[in-house]
């Protein structure tokens, strides 16, 4: 089909979601099902001196009460094994689970939770990143040295993961510079805030458990259950009903094991449904706060001679998937620039805050905000146009990047041209308006993945995939990839997905990896079916299999369209003989080499596989009397390789930009003196609304990326979230004459910056 006749992409799960016939986890009801509630620490750092659940157990209708004593004594964590299902001896953040209750109603469960007696002896709080790294700071984990951890991690006391990138001679590079500019930027933590608060339902049959859960990563969730409850993978089945968004907040293993353990103890199915408040306070998934110090040396001609940076990242109380954050942050603070001499170090600091975890492009929006704001400060010191400065210093095809990776075909320079064109950069504006520009980057993640395809006797197909749909439409797009391979239509396929006992492994809706890896798997499986169909058609049409073309629902002999047979007919033939069943996985692209740099704490993030680039240009208006900012227009140009599903791709850009605007202006976690969140509610944690959305125009720079995913596609879900806040900062700085050095750049902070008073 030509582009003009190709029907607009229609999501397979769209009608279910829009009409309400689709089922989410919290909608499920099983016979005899109990309600679960957790008892949380509600104190940020303390030793448990007494824990007595006997009164809770005695309440009629309470079927199970569990604490650390009732589950296997297992420490877990993907990078550092620093946590347990239930608190043991010490609690380290307010949302830590101490006990879990299952009862016949939610009200009884809550009464039982309230009847649990817990006494604490408070321990000193660690809340400040710099103080946390000092030698005499109180330890968040007194036993840190004894914990198991991934071999590559460099750890020391409250520093849960240290990483550095070093290239050339940074001091010599700074000495060579005509200007040396130093900046500090501080970002508050923020939240993924998916519309669906999480839910988990668990039911045992014999020694096997089925768990329905709102996770983005069903196989990770299964691994967590297996590890903590000491079960083999084939006795744990994770099913994800429709997922009401995630944005990274539902990556990782969370409460599946708690609920499975409750269901086992109660001998009844159990359901947990989080309130919005719990969704804010408890999961180990919020966007990390950061402190970024950066110094850059430049020559008068505008070239960068060296960059030195120090980064502290708020890990929170436990290490979720944040072990790789330091190296990733180091890359983002380096930025996609030509930097001959570089030294960046990054620390992941334990605090008594909620644990951090991958929220859409972890570390990137904050780092990009800091480094791109700094870049405009550098350009200003040179009296150089900041876009020209980027044209001169940004990486390009065949150029060596900051970590020593030399890029194949990339489109960052084109992104700069296109995004600035989209908003008319350089035109005259009213004096309360300005345009800011920022560039960003993000890796693609090459990992194993699998899918099956079968075509039944009536010619209808099924794709059975381990991939997880978190709302982006990526899994929905798999139908199109299979259909294109087989000359069929996307609607000819049903998707069977989000069930670990049915489909092969996939990493899940994380790392923008679904099309990149599962797309490869689906195409490989479809290729096997294509071979089978061609062999059948060749026999039927008395031709060679090599001459058979699959198109428009038929197999025909190349050059002789009249000699053809429908795929439906071939499927009928196959159903009486060798069945049309295929599996695919394919080989993930390999990591590119790094030359001339050295990395401490290397977790493989200093080389970007099929890197994605972006440039966002934002026009905004500032209310100078109040500091309120209104975003008027965003031009977003993205090199994410080949765009396979334009509707879905545009949705990702628009959503990413809106999330970026929220992070820039209104979203940020506030803490009280006892390290409790002050705004765990949607009225006080202000997401952007539809009414706030600006005009968003997008341009895709589609170039032939070597080492990319299917049809030259790279990832796309996280990249749009990287550069928006940075571009907003640069527009604001033009109007204010200096940057706002705190994220979010709330109206009050903008006003404080205008009034030249340090924000509190």
């Amino acid at each position: 089909m030509t582009a003009a006749t190709k029907p607009r992409f229609i999501r397979a799960d769209g009608p279910d979601k829009v009409t309400g016939s689709g089922r989410y986890t919290a909608d499920l009801t099983l016979t005899g099902m109990l309600a679960a509630k957790f008892r949380y620490a509600d104190i940020a750092h303390a030793r448990i001196t007494k824990l007595d659940v006997s009164a809770a157990r005695a309440i009629p209708g309470v079927m199970a009460v569990l604490t650390a004593d009732d589950v296997p004594d297992v420490r877990f964590g993907p990078f550092v094994q620093d946590r347990t299902l239930f608190a043991r001896d010490v609690v380290r953040f307010e949302g830590e689970v101490i006990a879990a209750v299952a009862a016949t109603t939610a009200a009884i469960a809550q009464r039982a939770v309230d009847a649990i007696v817990v006494e604490f002896e408070p321990l000193p709080l660690v809340t400040d990143l710099e103080i946390g790294l000092t030698a005499d700071a109180p330890l968040v984990h007194a036993d840190w040295a004894s914990y198991g951890a991934a071999g590559a991690l460099v750890r020391d006391r409250n520093d849960a993961s240290f990483s550095s990138i070093s290239k050339g001679d940074v001091d010599a590079g700074l000495a060579e510079a005509d200007h040396v500019i130093t900046s500090r930027y501080v970002a508050d933590g923020s939240h993924a805030a998916p519309i669906e608060p999480r839910a988990v339902v668990a039911q045992w049959e014999g020694n096997k458990v089925t768990i329905w859960t709102s996770t983005q990563v069903p196989f990770d969730a299964r691994a967590g259950v297996c590890e903590t409850l000491e079960l083999p993978a084939n006795r744990v089945r994770i099913i994800v009903p429709h997922l009401g968004g995630g944005f990274g907040g539902k990556c990782g293993f969370h409460y599946e094991a708690h609920i499975a353990a409750l269901a086992k103890a109660a001998k009844r199915p159990v359901r947990l449904v989080f309130s919005r408040r719990e969704e804010f306070l408890a999961p180990d998934r919020r966007r990390e706060g950061m402190v970024i110090d950066v110094t850059t040396g430049v020559r008068n001609d505008g070239t960068i001679t060296a960059r030195k940076a120090w980064i502290a990242i708020d890990n929170g109380a436990y290490t979720a998937d944040s072990g790789f954050f330091p190296q990733l942050a180091a890359m983002h603070v380096s930025g996609p620039y030509r930097i001959p001499n570089l030294y960046v170090e990054a620390h992941l600091v334990y605090t008594n805050h909620q644990p951090s975890g991958s929220v859409r492009a972890p570390t990137a929006p904050q780092s990009c905000w800091a480094i791109e704001s700094h870049t405009d400060e550098v350009a200003a010191a040179l009296a150089m146009d900041p876009v020209d400065f980027r044209r001169l210093n940004a990486v390009d095809t065949g150029v060596e990047g900051p970590s020593g990776q030399t890029y194949g075909e990339i489109g960052v320079q084109q992104c700069i041209e296109e995004a600035t064109k989209l908003v008319g950069y350089g035109r005259t504006l009213p004096d309360d308006e300005a345009i800011g520009v920022a560039i960003g980057w993000w890796p693609s993640f090459a990992v194993p993945s699998g899918a099956y395809i079968k075509i039944d006797g009536d010619g209808s197909g099924q794709i059975i995939t381990g991939a997880q749909e978190c709302g982006t439409g990526s899994v929905m797009t798999l139908r199109q990839l299979a259909a294109d391979e087989l000359g069929m239509l996307p609607e000819d396929f049903q998707l069977v997905y989000q069930d670990t006992s049915v489909a092969p492994y996939d990493m899940g809706a994380t790392g923008s990896q679904t099309i990149f890896n599962n797309g490869r798997a689906v195409i490989a499986a479809a290729g096997q079916i294509a071979e089978q169909l061609k062999a059948l058609a060749a026999e039927h049409l008395e031709a060679s299999p090599a001459d058979i073309v699959l198109a428009d629902g038929h197999a025909h002999v190349a050059g002789t369209p009249s000699s053809s047979v429908s795929i439906t007919e071939l499927a009928g033939i196959a159903s009486g003989g060798e069945l049309l069943i295929a599996h695919g996985s394919g080989t993930p692209p390999s990591a590119p080499p790094l030359l001339g740099s050295s990395c401490v704490g290397d977790v493989g993030m200093a080389a970007f596989v099929a890197p994605q680039f972006s440039c966002h240009a934002v026009r905004l208006r500032l209310d100078r009397d109040t500091g309120v900012v209104r975003i008027l227009e965003v031009g977003a140009a993205h090199d994410s390789g080949t765009i396979i599903n334009e509707t879905g791709a545009l949705g990702q850009i628009q959503g990413g930009v809106m999330m970026g605007i929220g992070q820039a202006l209104t979203e940020g976690t506030l803490y009280d003196d006892e390290s409790r969140q002050r705004n765990p509610a949607l009225l006080e944690y202000k997401l952007q609304t539809c009414a706030d959305s600006p005009v968003i125009n997008t341009h895709f720079v589609q170039i032939a990326t070597p080492n990319a995913g299917p049809h030259g596609a790279k990832g796309l879900a996280e990249a749009p979230n990287v550069a928006t806040a940075a571009a907003i900062s640069n527009a604001l700085a033009k109007l204010l004459g200096r940057p706002v050095r705190r994220l979010p750049m709330t109206a009050e902070r903008v006003w404080e910056t205008m009034s030249e008073v340090d924000p509190s």
């Binding site: 009397d625 109040t626 309120v628 209104r630 949607l682 609304t689 709330t746 404080e752």
Partner: protein
């Protein structure tokens, strides 16, 4: 819990006399209970089906607004938009379209939040609420109604049946603006309403200004009577801002610091007076001022 549905005023008053609390749109009462602010009352009577409370009655005395009139009605009613524009400005900012479809003026007034949006407009218009119980009815000026955050001088058995606005002299205009960080589902950080009457030469005949979210209740700005006879120019607007900022007694909370609120309420007061004066002069500024004059609030 005891829940009854009243379809006539008498049924509602009987239920109130027996200790029930009224629920109109429920967008404060029910939402607040769900958020854990305060549990639902033991006994609740739904008043939303009492037809007689749903009307707007314009007369030579002014405008009577039934307690059940919704924000959606207020933001589009020709009389409100024409003569009591500040009230339309306020109702048009409430929550989202669905909040405005269920939320009522009676609920907003009786909920008595210091951040309520219709409060400052009602105060500058000199509104009175009609309170009725089985024993009879009385009228109370809004300034005497609100006694603290969430507190009114109404008795437990009194239902608010209507809000009365006095008629408007010729040459009048009004406006309400609020400081907001986003353009929907927002709550006033601070706000200000102004009602102004100008003489043919543009001189101020009367001016009243009231402030939102800077005190335990909506407050009127004192001293605006001293501005009578002056032109609405930068000097007058600066004086209004100074009066508002100096009389505000804001708190610091999650939404803003005391200092920032004090500054911004002056800005809002200035903008409200400016927009009200422009309307008094016949200029058309569409409802709500927040949207038609730019970012967040009027520029």
């Amino acid at each position: 819990m005891n829940f009854t549905i009243a379809t006539t005023l008498d049924e509602a008053l009987t239920a109130l006399a027996a200790g029930a609390r009224p629920v109109a749109g429920g967008s404060d009462l029910v939402v607040g209970a769900r958020q854990g602010k305060s549990p639902l009352p033991e006994s609740v009577v739904a008043i939303d089906r009492i037809e007689s409370l749903t009307h707007l009655d314009a007369s030579t005395d002014g405008l009577g607004i039934g307690a059940l009139v919704t924000h959606a009605q207020l933001e589009s009613d020709a009389t409100v938009v024409g003569a009591y524009t500040a009230l339309a400005d306020a109702s048009a900012l409430v929550g989202s379209p669905s909040t405005r479809n269920v939320g009522t003026l009676g609920g907003n007034v009786m909920n008595a939040s210091p951040a309520m949006d219709t409060g400052a407009p009602l105060l500058v218009f000199g509104a009175e609420v009609e309170l009725r119980s089985s024993a009879g009815s009385r009228r109370v000026g809004v300034a005497d109604l609100w006694t603290g955050p969430g507190r009114t001088s109404a008795q437990g058995d009194e239902l608010c049946t209507a809000i009365h606005l006095p008629s408007r002299p010729a040459g009048s205009g009004s406006a309400y603006v609020r400081l907001e960080y986003r353009r929907a589902m927002e709550i006033a950080v601070v706000g200000a309403a102004a009602s102004i009457t100008l003489a043919a030469d543009g001189a101020v005949v009367s001016l009243s200004v009231a402030l939102t979210a800077v005190a335990p209740t909506i407050i009127a700005v004192g001293g605006t009577d001293t501005l009578a006879g002056r032109q609405v120019d930068d000097a007058l607007l600066a004086d209004v801002a100074a009066l508002a900022s100096s009389q505000a007694v804001p708190i610091s909370d999650l939404r803003a610091s005391e200092r920032y609120r004090r500054h911004c309420v002056g800005v809002m007061a200035r903008r409200a007076v400016d927009a009200a004066a422009r309307r008094a002069r016949g200029e058309s500024i569409a409802v709500p001022v927040n949207r038609s004059l730019g970012i967040g609030a009027a520029s």
